[in-house]
């Protein structure tokens, strides 16, 4: 009788756990400027390599190099830096506010500011994002008032969502920001539907779908790719690979082979990987994908390779599952510092101006916070009416909800 080997299950593990030395030597990083920039109407099969490389513009010396460089003016870059700094300062203040009990929960963007801030600048007015909870930079970069974001975080009497949503789950149609769901990946396929609708109506607007690396394991991620490729929807399919899905490393969703970007290849969708900590590279790739969508060339999938420096949320403790110094070892650096260095090198920025900008931004954030707190915080001051619980479930309140509202005394 033949001997039959017993099977064993493979469960992927990250290279290093707490107490170990961070090691990113397995992360293959192309030199800045090394990846070619194809024409937007390139056949997807001709750029399969782009799903395995990393598009980078800023090199170690802070220079912008290669075919993806040169799209942004000094002024646009300075605005980009300011937006990222603003998001970082906003995060820091709101994190503190949560620790002070002014809200229940917060999720910060530390280390990922370039992704959403640069991407927003590649879109036009009227385009629609279907974001996750880690793309507040889309609002900041579109000049959505910080005080409105804070009112929502505090669920106070001025909260535009009337206290119904978790903090950071913003909604602004006017700023191209679809209402955030707590259920993962549902928005990914909705973005494709929005883009299909724009095409059905022969409009000129495009949509952007957002997902984290962990959530690519959800069925709706795959549903979205099916619909996007089938109907050639004008949508940009963004995957933010920040290495960690709460405590689960990206290898659990991805498996041991390929990249997240490569998942687009089986669908015939052009797929690119980009340095998510490089403001210029993110913007250039987003612009390329937006032009493809707008020229009716269909969807593009982009994987942003970045690192979640902070905790997943205020309820998370990353020191329990990864080395404390891992973020410092991250080979793609800090997006704010990298853009700052580039601007200094360009001669349009300096340490002094940076320090001054930091102070100005902090003051701006504090002023917004004061204004928001004048309307109340989660447990103190003004809050939305109990009547608001019952409003807006339907366009017109049905009798059974009216009866319940009356029973509640409102």
């Amino acid at each position: 009788m033949n001997e039959v080997a017993h099977l064993s299950l493979h469960v992927p593990e990250p290279a290093v756990r707490p107490g170990g030395q961070p090691d990113f030597s397995n992360v293959k990083i192309a030199k800045a400027g090394a990846v070619p920039r194809p024409a937007v109407d390139v056949a997807p099969e001709e750029i399969r390599d782009l799903a395995y490389s990393i598009i980078r513009v800023l090199n170690r010396d802070g220079e912008a190099v290669g075919p993806w460089a040169g799209l942004l003016s000094d002024e646009e870059l300075l605005t980009g830096l300011r937006n990222m700094m603003k998001l970082r300062a906003f995060d820091a203040r709101m994190l503190m506010a949560q620790r002070q009990g002014k809200t229940s929960f917060y999720m910060q963007h530390l280390g990922e500011e370039a992704v959403s801030c640069a991407f927003r600048k590649a879109l036009a007015k009227g385009d629609m994002n279907f974001p996750t909870y880690r793309q507040a930079g889309l609002l900041i970069a579109d000049d959505y008032p910080m005080v409105e974001m804070m009112n929502q975080i505090y669920s106070n009497e001025a909260d535009p969502l009337r206290g119904r949503q978790l903090p950071i789950m913003y909604s602004s149609k006017a700023h191209g920001f679809f209402t955030i769901s707590g259920n993962l990946a549902t928005q990914y396929v909705q973005a494709v539907g929005w883009a299909m609708a724009s095409a059905i109506r022969n409009d000129t607007k495009i949509a952007a779908a957002w997902i984290g690396d962990g959530s690519t394991a959800e069925s709706d991620f795959h549903s979205a790719l099916v619909f996007a490729s089938t109907y050639k929807a004008p949508v940009i399919l963004n995957i933010v690979n920040n290495q960690w899905a709460i405590s689960t490393f990206q290898g659990i969703a991805r498996g041991g082979s390929g990249t997240f970007a490569a998942r687009g290849l089986g669908f015939g969708i052009p797929a690119l990987r980009v340095d998510g900590n490089d403001y210029l590279a993110v913007h250039a790739v987003a612009k390329w994908a937006a032009e493809r969508a707008r020229r009716n060339l269909g969807p593009t999938l982009i994987e942003y390779v970045t690192y979640r420096v902070g905790a997943h949320s205020t309820s998370d403790d990353p020191s329990a599952y990864r080395p404390k110094t891992e973020s410092e070892a991250w080979p793609l650096g800090d997006p704010v510092l990298r853009l700052k260095k580039h601007l200094v090198l360009r001669g349009v920025w300096s340490e002094e101006r940076h320090a001054q900008a930091e102070a100005e931004i902090l003051d701006e954030v504090i002023q917004a916070q004061k204004q928001a707190e004048s309307h109340g915080t989660l447990h103190a001051g003004g809050k939305p009416s109990v009547r608001d619980i019952f409003e807006g479930v339907y366009a017109e309140m049905p009798a059974h909800i009216r009866r319940q509202r009356q029973k509640a005394g409102y």
Partner: protein, 337 residues
């Protein structure tokens, strides 16, 4: 006026709506070129073009997810889930997304979609083509849930659903597509062309969502039913000779509580009939409301007649289906109670 089957009435509702409003789009599995497995969408693609009526990949969550995105853009998608049994992969999109978008965004975004799905048994569809999942939707705030029982209502309610600013689950009892069905499976079905409710206006009309209809006035007992069970209840009343008042709910959410309460206060007795399983079924909600609002008028305990708490069997379909004999026994039971 024209004589229509329920499937033709459903098709007519979509055709009229698409003609009146460019924002209405219809899609789902097999609904485009072929016209759907029940032919509900036949001819719509030829008339309105393939960007307004088109085939979708076999991906229910994708169908609902894209419909939600289209609605957020400003379209009014009317999608088909091929059988109600297949809607489970889309349940997350229906219950946590479509139903909540208006509320969670404080009206910033809305979701005017219609989800059509053939429901119920009686066609030897076995356990994966016979389910009645309405209670899974009536538990979800933000949805509206409709189950028509005849061609006239089906058209008027579907047009109202398409024009409704909120998401509507539209469950079509597939056993009624070609004619009223009174539960006597051994007898040939009377076609809708011989039934007064098969007379359907060809143009636009609506029936308000949330209004029940009394199909048979009576004074001895109230029978609350919807969909196929309306016809079974009518047959049971005729066959037992009991003076039953039969209420066709038409809309389960919102529910026409006033019509139920008014009737039960008059008759003092109530039987609730549905095809879905008993435990935690919609009948439990009706019984609870009757108890709450009519307790002092009741002369007997309220009785439910439903499918059994098992999956829908194939070979024993007619032992599962609540037929007129079972409803008749329940009527007699409450009359004696």
């Amino acid at each position: 006026m024209a004589r229509m089957t329920m499937i033709e009435a459903v098709r007519s509702a979509m055709e009229v709506s698409m003609g009146r409003d460019d924002e209405v789009v219809v899609f789902g599995e097999d609904v485009g070129y072929f016209g759907g497995v029940f032919r509900a969408t036949q001819g719509l693609q030829a008339k309105y073009g393939k960007t307004r009526c088109f085939d979708a990949p076999i991906n229910e969550s994708g169908i609902l997810g894209t419909a939600i995105g289209m609605a957020a853009y400003g379209l009014k998608p009317c999608v088909e889930i091929q059988f109600a049994d297949y809607m489970y992969p889309a349940y997350d999109q229906i219950t946590q997304e479509a139903a909540r978008i208006r509320y969670r965004s404080n009206g910033d975004f809305t979701c005017p979609i219609v989800v059509r799905m053939p429901t119920g048994g009686g066609i030897f569809g076995g356990q994966t083509h016979s389910q009645s999942p309405e209670a899974l939707f009536t538990h979800v705030c933000g949805l509206k849930v409709i189950v028509p029982s005849n061609p006239y209502d089906a058209k008027g309610l579907l047009i109202a659903a398409i024009e409704d600013p909120d998401p509507v689950m539209f469950l079509e009892p597939k056993r009624l597509y070609n004619g009223p069905f009174d539960g006597h499976h051994e007898k040939p079905v009377t076609p809708w062309s011989k039934h007064e409710l098969g007379e359907v206006p060809e143009g636009h009309y609506t029936i308000p969502i949330g209004k029940a209809e009394i199909r048979r006035p009576g004074s001895a007992v109230t029978v609350v039913a919807y969909g196929t069970m309306v016809h079974v209840a009518l047959a049971a009343a005729e066959e037992t000779g009991i003076d039953a008042e039969v209420i066709d709910l038409r809309s389960l959410l919102p529910l026409d509580l006033d019509t139920i309460v008014q009737s039960v206060k008059k008759t003092g007795r109530c039987v609730v009939v549905h095809e879905a399983t008993l435990t935690s079924g919609f009948g439990g909600e009706v019984v609870s409301l009757v108890q709450e609002h009519c307790f002092y008028s009741l002369e007997a305990p309220v009785v439910r007649v439903t499918g059994w708490d098992t999956p829908y069997p194939h070979a024993q379909e007619w032992d599962y289906f609540p037929g007129p004999a079972r409803v008749g026994r329940a009527l007699q039971e409450v009359m004696e109670g």
